[in-house]
């Protein structure tokens, strides 16, 4: 069973409107590389010029923010759910 990545609305133009994309990578960084090879241009939307996840991009693995895990090195296993979500204002 592969890993499902939920694609947010602002990126769906790049994924031919696919809401969920399957990858087989072992880490978040690997998953972003895999997305890039299939949907060229998506990486620069997610990563800054130093290769880190952009300031206003939140990535969750099974509902946990990767900044509480191992950021781009966060491991992925079969059946994991990854969400990519823009930061939101609140209160």
């Amino acid at each position: 069973m592969p890993v499902n990545i939920r694609i947010p609305t602002p990126l769906r133009k790049l994924t031919n409107n696919e809401e969920v994309v399957e990858v087989t990578a072992n880490t978040i960084g690997g998953a972003i590389n895999e997305l890039q090879s299939r949907y060229p241009g998506i990486q620069e939307r997610l990563l800054d010029e130093n290769g880190g996840v952009r300031r206003f991009v939140n990535v969750y693995v099974n509902e946990e923010d990767i900044r509480f895990l191992q950021n781009k090195e966060t491991p992925l296993k079969d059946g994991d759910e990854v969400s990519i979500i823009p930061a939101i204002a609140g209160g």
Binding site: P10, R45, R54, R55, R67, A87, I88, A89, G90, G91
Partner: protein, 419 residues
């Protein structure tokens, strides 16, 4: 007033500057940066003057040119213009020459500053043709969306952490809104709502309506300047959840200054958080320009956002203005609530306790000098967070309806005082 005239030009990414049409969208496609409304300040200059403002009704819409609606507001026409209280007794207790309280604990209609942002977001939502509105909320926003949607005849869905204060839950249910309790903290509610917002055609006030919503906060700052006699306060202490209010009050000072409505005097913006959720204040104290998300654990639930969307910009505003930040414990929050209540007769919610507690620290440490003047932003009402103070405000003493018992009670107290 310039009827039916829009002063908005576009939405623009705060990061890369890419422009977008004035639709219900909040994120740049290229870098996920937040979108912000761009105004035609030249046209505004010709329409918004001290005299024109003073001639209008006393509510937040007297600054309508600087608020992002195309026509006349249709939701929340009575919101805002809350009292600015000169707080002499609290000033004395905190050791500062002059202190003002901007009291949004009595904002109309739901007793928090959120009525400002909701009034803008829902007015704009109606303009864009929405009939269902929604929000992710720590409580106050849910109350305000529920009430204002009811008054405007809109359908409302509000999403809140399931463990919110009782008062805030009832204050959403009573208006007939669909209240969904999420078993998780606010950041998790927010994440779910981001996914829901992408799926349904609703106006999510703090998601796809965020560029409009956030601008509503500026009205608190516009009012402060007008009520101070058209000047910018030296110091403003503002509670931070996502950090949006802090950045928008700063923007309100910039805009009035740019339009010549006030003199461009120096101001400092200070941010207040609870120690149990202090990603922004911790970063500010360490001199960082980025923050590390936290898992919130504080009685100040309205400020319990561990991943603050405007954290980065809040840090920048404090740095640019020379402001400071600090955070206070749950006990200090309760003390702050009591201090404000006992000195000024104002009962604030936990976020108000945070603001007073942090102001006390900043004044004591000299970061706000004793000879200066400061404004504290009180954003919500204490009646909504009774749970937080129920065990720390003392108890009633019961007697029978007998004069002798009453006199006995006074004697015992006199004795206790002398002891």
């Amino acid at each position: 007033m310039a009827n039916e005239k829009s002063f908005m030009k576009a939405l623009k990414c705060r990061e890369c500057g890419h422009e977008y049409p004035l639709a219900a969208t909040h994120v740049c496609e290229f870098d996920f940066g937040p979108l912000e409304v761009v105004y035609d300040y030249e046209a505004i200059r010709g329409s918004l003057t001290r005299a024109s403002i003073e001639s209008r009704a006393k509510n937040m819409w007297r600054y309508r040119e600087l608020l992002p609606v195309a026509g006349e507001p249709t939701v929340g026409n009575q919101v805002g213009y809350t009292t600015l209280v000169k707080a002499d007794r609290l000033a004395k207790r905190l050791g500062i020459r002059e202190l003002w309280i901007k009291n949004d604990a009595v904002n109309y209609p739901t007793l928090s500053f959120k009525d400002r942002v909701v009034s803008v977001a829902l007015s704009r939502a109606v303009e864009l043709g929405f009939t269902t509105v929604a929000c992710a909320s720590t409580g106050n926003l849910a109350n305000s969306v529920a009430a204002n949607a009811a008054a405007a005849g809109l359908k409302a869905y509000v999403f809140i952490p399931a463990d919110l204060e009782h008062g805030k839950v009832i204050n959403s249910l009573v208006y007939g809104a669909n209240v969904i309790g999420i078993k998780g903290h606010y950041d998790e509610v927010n994440r779910l709502c981001a996914e829901i917002a992408g799926k349904y055609g609703w106006a999510f006030v703090n998601v796809n309506m965020r560029p409009y919503y956030a601008e509503g906060s500026k009205s608190m700052g516009f009012e402060i300047q007008e009520q101070l006699g058209w000047r910018i306060p030296q110091h403003t202490v503002i509670p931070m959840a996502s950090g949006s209010l802090l950045t928008k009050i700063h923007k309100s000072y910039q805009e009035f200054s740019k339009l010549g409505l006030v003199s461009n005097t120096k101001w400092k913006i200070h941010g207040a958080q609870a120690t149990g959720c202090n990603p922004i204040s911790a970063a500010q104290k360490q001199g960082l320009d980025f923050f590390k998300p936290v898992k919130p654990n504080t009685i100040a639930k309205s400020l319990a956002i561990g991943t603050p969307a405007d954290g980065f910009y809040s840090l920048r505003v404090m740095k640019e203005t020379g402001g400071h930040s600090d955070d206070v414990s749950d006990d200090e929050i309760r003390e702050g609530i009591k201090l404000l209540a006992e000195c000024e007769g104002i009962f604030a919610e936990t976020a108000g306790g945070v603001t007073v507690g942090v102001a006390k620290k900043l004044i004591a440490s000299g970061k706000i000098p004793a000879e200066d003047s400061a404004v504290l932003c009180i954003t919500g009402n204490g009646l909504k967070t009774l749970d937080a103070v129920v065990n720390s405000v003392g108890q009633t003493r019961e007697i029978r309806p007998s004069l002798r018992e009453f006199e006995g009670l006074l004697e015992t107290e006199d004795a206790a005082c002398k002891a």
